[in-house]
Amino acid sequence: VPAGPEAPTLPEIGVAEVAWPAPTVAGAHRLTFHGRAGSLFGIHIVNVFLTLVTLGVYYFWGKARVRRYMFGQAEIDGDRFAFEGRGLEMLIGFVKAGVLFGLPLAALNYAPPLLGADTMVTAASSLVAYALVLVLIPTARSGARRYRLSRTSWRGIHFSFRGRTLTFVRLYAGGSLLSVLTLGLYYPVFATRNHAFLTGHSYVGGARFEFAGRGTDLLVSFIYAVLLTLPTLGLVWFWFAAAKRRYFWEHTRLGQARFRSTITGGRLLRLKLGNLVIILLTLGLGWPLASVRTARFLCRHIWLEGVVDPAAIRQELQTANATGEGLLGLFEADLDLG
């Protein structure tokens, strides 16, 4: 039988779709993480070797491999996620971010003292650098999210982030300043508004993640945490972090379904403490185990509840480049693991 690209005829497909109507699944949609620390460790070893041999260039390909593995091991409703990001595009993104933003920032910080400029010029250029960082961090966060979601899919349907960078920059810079001016009291509102923006503009296909949280709801827990910091030696912040995450997830919906979470302070403390011990005892070599523990933890304690109609999740492709991803790499280590 010669195999043609479009061999089947349309009536045949029609028959097939009638025979298997799209099932709408109700109830709890649980995530399962199948990954094993041993496999991740193997990937990491090869990545380190190739990164050293290529004097760092392979780093980005290694990053792509780790993500491909981690996403491919997470499953919901019988299907695994897929990450399609490529090392080359991440390398290009990093170089672009370095040239466009990293070099000017370094120049602002280091050039005046090295060139012997007077104190006023040095101070002014440091100030400009601070302001630039305040703009670049939100740019990086939203850019990286745009990139990562666009390269992630479930059942062949791509995720996307459609928030406007400029809006987020305004939100972030304003919120940072307000947090400083209110001596941190504005922080829970700031965190919730950031989350609302990042989540509320995220989609899987054409289906939007809706976030209905209000910043003031976390204010009471936040004040408790501040007051209890000394008596609990700071451990109370695990409970605040858990409350925050629970609040964020439980106020997020996807169509008719709603996210649920059973993350508690005690569980989060056990996870983080365990990871800390693993990493310190192995001098960092045990991080794949810590990553796998974290992924399992998230999959166990977050799920989607309600009716999901997969046929209603339609593909809507959005473009994204990796410059934001590269920019985030300049500022901070990864946020999604550990």
Binding site: P8, A16, L52, V66, P113, G156
Partner: protein
Amino acid sequence: MNWNGHYLDGRSAHRQPVSVGVTAGGLEIVTHDAVLRRWPYAEIRQTQGRYAGEPVRLERGRAPAEVLIVSNPHFLTTLRESAGDYSSRFYDPRRRGRRMLLTLGAGVAAVGLAAGLYLWGIPALALVATPLVPPAWEARLGDEIYARLVSSEDRCSDPERQRLIEAILARLTGNGGAGPYHLRLTVVDWPQVNAFALPGGHILLLRGLLDSTDSPEMLAGVLAHEVQHILRRHTTRALIQHASSSLMVAAIAGDVSGLVAFALEGARVVGALNYSRKAEEEADAEGLRMLLRAQINPAGMIAFFDRVVRKEDGREPEGIWRYLNTHPSHTQRVATLKALAANAPVGPPLLAGHDWNDVKRICGG
């Protein structure tokens, strides 16, 4: 033989149970006894299923791609057997065993490479890169550190005695011996027995050290050591080594959180101590050569180190601690200096006609 799987059309998240026939030309994706799709092998790519237990995921077409997923672990073997020339498009499950070995090999090689980079690569890079840094930058950096480190009331300023001590420095460097650097010596009113060289030309001599010298020759030995740190640009080299070993640590830590980087930073700091011990050894040897070139009696320098040894007797670091120390073992230092100083010609004594005990009172008292 047909395989059970499911098909995703790339348009919606609806999944369609299908049966997959593996034929000579490609895959036949069959649903309800009707052929839904025919995929020629040349157009199929495999994106998941490399790891044991992971379902095989095949895709076709540009984004949004169609997807076919088959969980049966034997599917991949059959696929490879039937795909003929295109079998390399699919992962060979038999390679999983070999991959284990390759991973082990990569691990051993990575350790070797990291050690090689640490022992030779990074020092070589620093050696090449250091001369490219303009001395003017070093001077500005040194000035910056100097201004922050030593407050003006801690600087001992007795012009007459300062001139005498600077004469020792001048004898050491002779004509043009300071290279592109303008050497500036400051006696600091701190009690510790120590001296520092800042990049670009500042030498900080602490009162405690000055007090413990018996003769200008003893001080000359210390100054020669510090001048060598400046001339050999040890601080600049250390900064470059710091930056490149941080990069190496980042390469090893990979795509991970700050916690791992923190654990590895500890390892990097221990490693950096070794680099700095080498710099000390170099400053010792070159400092003594400088002393001999200026025809200053090396007995003073050797006696000074000898005294430090006797004073620290019993506190000599042993075993692993020797390597965690920034300075080389004192006994070793003295032995090396004595070997280098044998039969050296000696010129006139330093500061003849001046009372050294009086010169030492530069900080008053």
